[in-house]
Symmetry: C2
Subunit: 358 residues, 2 copies
């Protein structure tokens, strides 16, 4: 069992710390943040899920409206007494007119000088703005390449779940670069350097007719176009990652291989974190994989919340031999935990320095 040091300050981000983007909204969740180190600060790019103020008679759902040519938020009202509408799931509403999310997510920056105490900015960094983002933008991952920070984020709309790319050099202005993975694809992590002359990314397509939600790798000449897809690894029946898996943190380069902290969900929707070690030059080859999770929901804030029993990472920061994993807990807030990279590699049976002495 790997020693995991949860911060005593956990949860380090709660929804109450985040001002809503408009007065008739309330922030329900602030979670699944990408992480970057920039100008001696640790930055979290939070997914902030907001709900339109509703009451006992009427549920109000915010969606992006692009029909007039310019984008604005439209509030759709549902009568709670209408028996044709299914309100049971707190995350969504199933109505005769279609499927809706109860919240709409945007991305918001939080800054810290110690990596623990964060100040949340008052305004969104990236707000949904296109048809493919009608239900919100979610779960970003930040990859630094040169002086640019590339943000791969999920766009949700009635047309499906896509992954788009944006870029910033200052975390003040952002440039959108379009959809890089078509429906249904999420959990995209771009490697932090070119491998044999090409960019690489882990991704998680979700097929319908046959196939499981498994992890794949793609290559790119320009970060915008992706191809030469290759299967990496699958869910494992009977294990902690039996139902769904997906890349979590941007891969970390070690002497033994690319260390990827990924999430796995079991059949009963418990989300845990584990690790996989990928070959440095052929990152679709697996050198080791966690039999047991590194981090599973055990702390109170990981077990009770908007979606119980969920830990989900979109980023980690390495300081020497220490890896600080930032992770969303219960789809509601953010926490962090430190692990030793040596310990993780040892648990995968693949730490070269140690194994030489065995």
């Amino acid at each position: 069992m790997i020693r995991v040091h949860r911060l005593v300050e956990n949860p380090i981000i709660t929804p109450g710390m985040v001002p809503p983007s408009r007065p008739d909204f309330e922030v329900v969740c602030a979670f699944n943040a990408a992480v970057a180190e920039y100008n001696a600060e640790t930055l979290l790019l939070l997914r902030v899920a907001e709900r339109a103020t509703s009451d006992r008679k009427t549920a109000r759902v915010p969606v992006l409206d692009t029909s007039s040519g310019r984008t604005r938020i439209k509030i759709i009202e549902f009568n709670r007494a209408d028996r044709r509408i299914d309100f049971r799931d707190p995350r969504c509403i199933r109505a005769p007119s279609g499927f809706y999310l109860t919240t709409i997510s945007h991305l918001r920056l939080a800054r810290s000088t110690d990596g623990i105490h964060f100040t949340v900015e008052p305004r969104p960094a990236l707000f949904p703005e296109s048809e493919s983002e009608m239900f919100g933008i979610e779960d970003p991952r930040i990859t630094k390449l040169g002086a640019s920070y590339y943000i791969a984020y999920k766009g949700v709309s009635p047309r499906g779940i896509t992954t788009s790319l944006a870029v910033t050099t200052d975390f003040i202005s952002y440039r959108r670069l379009g959809i890089i993975f078509c429906p249904e694809n999420l959990d995209v992590c771009i490697f932090p350097e070119k491998i044999k002359g090409r960019y690489a990314a882990l991704h998680r397509p979700v097929p319908k007719m046959m196939g499981e939600p498994n992890m794949w790798l793609a290559w790119s000449p320009d970060l915008l176009s992706w191809g030469d897809h290759i299967f990496v690894m699958s869910v494992r029946p009977g294990k902690w990652d039996s139902a769904r898996i997906g890349a979590g943190a941007v891969p970390i380069k070690t002497q033994d291989g690319w260390l990827e902290i990924y999430h796995g969900a079991s059949e009963n929707d418990v989300y845990s974190l584990g690790a996989v070690l990928l070959d440095l030059e052929k990152p679709y080859l697996i050198l080791g994989r966690s039999n047991a999770p590194i981090l599973k929901p055990t702390a109170r804030y990981e077990r009770r919340g908007f979606m119980p029993n969920v830990v989900f990472t979109c980023g980690a920061v390495r300081h020497g031999e220490c890896l600080r994993i930032y992770y969303g807990c219960c789809d509601e807030g953010m926490a962090a935990a430190d692990v030793s990279i040596k310990d993780v590699l040892k648990s995968l049976g693949k730490h070269k320095t140690r194994s030489r002495h065995r």
Copy 2:
């Protein structure tokens, strides 16, 4: 109603014309062929579906086996008396050990000097050879770019349905270029020229959680990597293309726009062909779309066969104002029909020359 001239020779390809790839196989279907014009010949690259010789007691299913490092066909036997196994669908077997196709498809060339009478080559042109092709390769489309013929084809495996690319300059040797669209994606048609400096392709992702099997467009700098995905058009409830749509023939350039012959399926699985006209410079913009199908299954060979009531195209050939659409009928054989491009454009309300005189 558009005048459609079915060839009197239809069906022009039947399974009986195709020798099996090995003595213990039988050819069940020869259909959904890509088409190319090459050296004064019309070439059809057929999808040939083969079945392992089975009997009343035992069903034998061929799959590709790559476990030993080299690829070979493995025959899996199923006891027809085993009640845990579902044999009802002629296309597949659902067993406790997984999902299997009853046939395995490869691609086979047929040559003609008149575009009507074809000679089928004795050996496969492309045979499944990788893990992503374990259940076969299917439904190719050929796009000529310079002196090269690019073949986008579907690979089917337990990991999902992908689209791969191969290239040939002589239709004798073929070079595989890898998976260009990850699961679940099919009906990929690459445009026959660059548009504003980039390659373009229509594709049909199939999302699981939300979204319909709709048509999208992607861009590429190199034909191998695809991105900047953009939604093109959706299924239309209540119409002939209500359940599924997908690009069919490689788009044909006209003065009015890119003419795309696509397939649509209704809720009761009737597959018909219609047209959509796309903007020449922004080929994700729709200028016109068939309200009624151009070709729907009415001839006997289109209504009765392996899968009844299916017409499905993977290619067409233009000679002046005449468009010859080659199409699979009932997932079993090949037929062809001629239409006037002017008539098709008129039916879309978009033939400029005519509309100027109205």
